[in-house]
Symmetry: none
Amino acid sequence: MSDKTFVEKCASDKRTAILEATLALISERGFHNTPMSLIAKTSGVSTGIIYHYFSSKEELISELYKDIKFEFIRTMLADYSEDLSLKERFLGMWFNLVRYGLNYPTKGLFLEQFENSPYTKCVVKEDFEHAIAPFFDFCQQGVEAGILKPLPPLVLFDLGFSTAIFLVKRHAAGVVVLDDELMQTTANACWDAIKI
Amino acid sequence: MSDKTFVEKCASDKRTAILEATLALISERGFHNTPMSLIAKTSGVSTGIIYHYFSSKEELISELYKDIKFEFIRTMLADYSEDLSLKERFLGMWFNLVRYGLNYPTKGLFLEQFENSPYTKCVVKEDFEHAIAPFFDFCQQGVEAGILKPLPPLVLFDLGFSTAIFLVKRHAAGVVVLDDELMQTTANACWDAIKI
Amino acid sequence: MSDKTFVEKCASDKRTAILEATLALISERGFHNTPMSLIAKTSGVSTGIIYHYFSSKEELISELYKDIKFEFIRTMLADYSEDLSLKERFLGMWFNLVRYGLNYPTKGLFLEQFENSPYTKCVVKEDFEHAIAPFFDFCQQGVEAGILKPLPPLVLFDLGFSTAIFLVKRHAAGVVVLDDELMQTTANACWDAIKI
Amino acid sequence: MSDKTFVEKCASDKRTAILEATLALISERGFHNTPMSLIAKTSGVSTGIIYHYFSSKEELISELYKDIKFEFIRTMLADYSEDLSLKERFLGMWFNLVRYGLNYPTKGLFLEQFENSPYTKCVVKEDFEHAIAPFFDFCQQGVEAGILKPLPPLVLFDLGFSTAIFLVKRHAAGVVVLDDELMQTTANACWDAIKI
DNA sequence: TATGAATGAGGCTTCATTCAT
DNA sequence: AATGAATGAAGCCTCATTCAT
């Protein structure tokens, strides 16, 4: 970072400002109802310059999605280690995921909004396969060890984490308070779902 | 139904046609990218008449959401009966939910798209409380009987059904094939998640 | 015409107003420098309605071109008759062409501007073949009779009429005054060019 | 040329590159649809530097027009000599003109596009009077000698050369093949048009 | 000289909504 | 009830031009 030129830093700062404004606005107002002009005003740049960094609104949003998705996966797998037991690894991922959702509510909302919209078809998902690989290892080892139910990794993912994702959204909506105790109990319940 | 006048039937037919076109278009193209004019053309009516049945695009979409949401809940609880064991009741709901998603993929996609968008804030959710009441009874009875984990109903809902919802979406996206065997196994895994 | 409904007449009136405004503005200001908003204002309609009659600016201009081109050809061949001698027929066409240019200077300028711009590639020219057919007959008969030089019709057209087109433009620009005498002399000179 | 400094040569090279890119792009894409940024990219310079050589897009285009127009006139009159007969002189100019159009099709298209657009009003044409003077002499001598029709020079120009210009455009469009034989015949036909 | 990021007015087009018929 | 032409605000994007470096 420190060896960037001034120009590069300015440029990336502007790009970052645009991405951050887009995230904040879209998670609050939705894809529609977030005009480029508002993104420009919020990020403190001119309308035109957005098109210097992103070729279209669609590309801007896709780029934002990919950035956040990668960050999400990275965070979830942050302290993943094969030195830990399978259950410890699962709980680690589970809490990382939830903490990410609680720490960055706008990112969580954006991810969910994007993945449940037709926009999602425009993004090539294979990019994420490599990033998520450790989870696949976890599944394989767990199934082979007779500890996890013999199911496809995607199904194990859903059994293990869909509840976490739902709960984070409920917490953001204010209909459930996700305190430490509830997290503990629910995390273990999810473990019950995937373990044999 | 049969005692409606011809005019009334035409009217409600038109209303229905509008709602169906809206569903098909939005689930495929998203809220934005589905102009009223396209809804009119697809449903075979004039633009103007839509405003006879719905005061605005937002109301049309909200109305559609409520219709589908109620249908969804009704279907899920279709053969719910306190004569059945708790596990039987749960599996019944689980399979009903999944079958609904598989039979009406556009409705499932629409529901998910709506509930994960800022639109969702515009709808009063208390309307659904009454419809979902049997599930709440199920939770209370299960917890009191020491069969279900002592958790709030919403959390039990997520533990029990979030995986089902995810799997239906994966099936629609073509990345998982939800056959009978997988349904059986997964349904039981979800039961593991909520039972003590 | 008189059996059109009121609505039809209004509609076509609006369409006509748009076409006329477009002609006037473009011949004066060029394709660029003639925004749709100005066309709307000049023709007394809203911006949006233009797109009810024409799918895009390009289609509006192409449509205008075709209309004028057909009118031009029709006018040029107005009193064409095989009862006349070849020379009479030629002079008839020649004067019709020039009179059209003098009577409708904006149409002449628009035609020339369009046909000398890359826009021209977007228009299918075969549509005009049928309209211009009498001129082709004229050429064939003249060549076969040994009165016209044995050249392709397009070349005979240029020899016969390119000067007329140039002169009309010079007249519009004010650098040549195209009075009756000059027209007579030049028309006969053009006849010299095509006759054997 | 050779006594220019290195810096000067680079500068004029850049200027030339800009003019050449502008010519190629405009003849292909038109005035609109040829942004300065594309001219910059095509000529391998930065956007900003264009404004060092030309004060605006309009000036760039006018400058280009004048350059090409002068070159065109110079080429047309290249081997003009009062030692030749009037007919020889005419045919010389005629073939020079056509050859120019065939050798530099983009220049021909640009000239026609420019002169048939409202842009043309922005250029002072008197600059060309001096360059075209020999043709005026040719007219005067021809008329006085009783060999050319007694018409204004501009009219004699059109009678003599408008067909050539049209044919070059038809050749570029691919609807007429301008081979040597056709050139010979047509050139003589044009002579018929101007001679008594 | 030279760069190219930056500006922002303005262009084309869309679309929710209205209203005369 | 029904039509669909009409409106006009607003959206996305372009591009001539400027200016800090």
